[in-house]
Subunit: 354 residues, 2 copies
DNA sequence: CTCACTAGTGTAAGCGATTCCATCAGTGGG
DNA sequence: CCCACTGATGGAATCGCTTACACTAGTGAG
């Protein structure tokens, strides 16, 4: 019991209750509730009066009471492995702003440690703490997805397939293909690729499809892939910087182009090349993927995967499902956009960009 | 009503209720609740049996029911102006991980648009949707803070003072002073400063104290500040890159050192200088503030403001207040740590770092 | 002119916990 | 040997809404 004062008569300064609005307009709480939530029939006149009274009193429905009674909580979970990395922060921003605009809350579940995974799903989602969830770049166990879906909790996945739920991702294979073909068309034969680790716990291998696109494009063009040019980094600028610097340090077997799975790594590659005295794009062409703001200053040619839009879109799908509209559980493969800047040029050209 | 089946007897596969645990161990729900929440006396034996039963049934208390009944919601709001900028994402990460570890949820309120401000405070906080809130780099109206505090909602501010609530920030003035003095000691006389805009809506002017530190250090050293060297950018790498490139384009009145209010801007400055053929630190010394991971690859000398730690610390303060411990409402000024790298060197030295 | 419907409203039963109060068995002091 | 007290427990009243169901009055069809 929080406030069991002198029965319901006195309530010094607490926020107004539904009851207060009801008595102010001389109607039952049922009608007031219907008027305010928009569920169930209420005559236009009554509705207007109730809304006015509610506004005047500054009434806002108790979140927990209404959630408990209705089973809906206007709270959507966003589950992701990192918040402090560009892609995730940007997707999160897209999701959160869309949800907020629709009157939903975004609750953040950062699964960096992997430790809280179980409790997040079991405790929060299944216990109706959340109405829906967006899962970013994380692999759910087959049973988990099913469990959530069958409990009627809409799900949407970003950057990795989620059995039975709609999924959004950029066409990574295609992006990898296009990036590589761009370099090949410019005459490059010896192309290095730098991506992330093949897999990290429950998170999706973020760059493997891009790597696959690279490999396919190379073999289609009949170009050999040198073991030495296949770099693996941690997606950071610094990591890529170091890897690429090592790679380029020996002039005799240096690639003429680098395809980095993300712009941050691409920018690191450019810096590394410059630190070795190479000129971009004269001595080395570099292409990335992301449209990271960093790339602009580096003149980085890249492929825009529209991270923010992916987030917005995911949120829309969830909202639509919550509104009762049927949403097909397929994979929504966004096509990425090529952004040509000055970090790539024809092989052997004299420093002028492509 | 959500599930008014055949009275309470049938409940096909829904999650177990407190009642179920109670009947399993043959005790009242009151005792079970006490055992599980740890409030009120329960004999050790009973407690053990209850916990075992709860675990076996996979019982987890309904979030909304317990919030409604107890008035506590285990949900803490994080209010910030951006999520997709390094500092904020990092602080958020620190806050969220600390809260999650303590069993609290972090609800995200991104006030980028400024539009939702009112509703966030009024609707969510005051309606007991949130137990507490961390306000990052945002200025609350004097009345708002008071209203929240008097409603018993713990508040903590990061990066800007919040009347009546504990506040955390790095000592920006001191950091600005030290960064500038570092350059002065190296013999630089003509030092440029690049910071953010003086003020942006309700958010705190993020770099004005750093600028003030710069100005004070310069005047203490008797050095003139050239109007032309006072740059204002938008905190982005690209923005700083452009500004600094313009600044350095005219060789005759070029500063010999740049102090950037953030590492991202400092890195942009370095790139700009390099693009103009300048060598760092031989031709230009650059210092930043942040310890942004980007800085490492650029060899950027910087001052670490420990963004992640600030977040962690803020979360701890909130948790402590929620636990009933008194927390003094003062300003907690963290001292930043100097990180010497290779982007600064004595004026006129031959390329060897400081 | 009835009758089946619908729209508008009220009554009251939950939602699933927490917690106040009463009850009751031990227990150490006087 | 009695009593005030403490620790463990149960009964039942909330917390503040939503909504099933009952009811009334109007409305167009037959």
């Amino acid at each position: 019991m929080i406030a069991r004062e002198l029965s319901a008569t006195r309530r010094p300064q607490g926020p107004p209750r539904l009851k207060d609005v009801a008595s102010k307009v001389g109607m039952s709480t049922a009608t007031v509730s219907r008027a305010l939530t928009g569920r169930g029939p209420v005559s236009p006149g009554t509705k207007r009066r109730i809304e006015a009274a509610a506004k005047e009193l500054g009434f806002v429905a108790s979140y927990h009471a209404s959630s408990l009674a209705s089973g809906r909580s206007r709270n959507i979970g966003v589950v992701l492995p990192y918040v402090d990395r560009w892609f995730f922060a940007t997707v999160l921003d897209g999701i959160a702003s869309t949800l907020t605009a629709a009157g939903y809350d975004a609750a953040l579940y950062n699964l960096q440690g992997e430790n809280f995974r179980e409790s997040v799903l079991t405790d929060f989602l299944l216990r109706k703490r959340l109405d829906a969830a967006a899962v970013v770049s994380l692999r759910l166990a087959p049973g988990e997805t099913e469990q959530l879906l069958s409990a009627g909790i809409p799900l949407v996945g970003i950057g990795g397939s989620l059995e039975g739920a709609p999924t959004i991702s950029v066409d990574d294979l295609n992006a990898g293909l296009r990036a590589t073909n761009h370099l090949i068309q410019l005459g490059h034969c010896r192309i290095a690729f730098i991506g992330g680790p093949p897999e990290a716990g429950r998170s999706f291998p973020m760059s493997s499809d891009r790597r696959r696109g690279f490999e396919r494009a190379m073999s289609t063009a009949g170009l050999p892939i040198h073991e030495r040019d296949q770099l693996v980094s941690d997606f950071t600028f610094l990591g890529a910087y170091q890897q690429v610097k090592n790679l380029l340090a020996e002039p005799e077997q240096r690639p003429t182009a680098v395809f980095a799975a993300t712009d941050e790594m691409a920018a690191g590659a450019i810096l590394a090349a410059r630190d070795l005295g190479l000129e971009i794009p004269r001595d080395l062409s570099v292409i990335g993927i992301d449209a990271h703001p960093l790339g602009e200053a580096f003149g980085l040619t890249t492929i825009d995967q529209q991270a923010h839009h992916q987030g917005t879109r995911a949120a829309q799908l969830l909202l639509r499902q919550l509104a009762g509209e049927p949403v097909t559980a397929g994979h929504e493969l966004h096509r990425a956009h090529f952004i040509a800047r000055s970090s790539t040029a024809p092989l052997g050209s004299n420093s002028s960009p492509a």
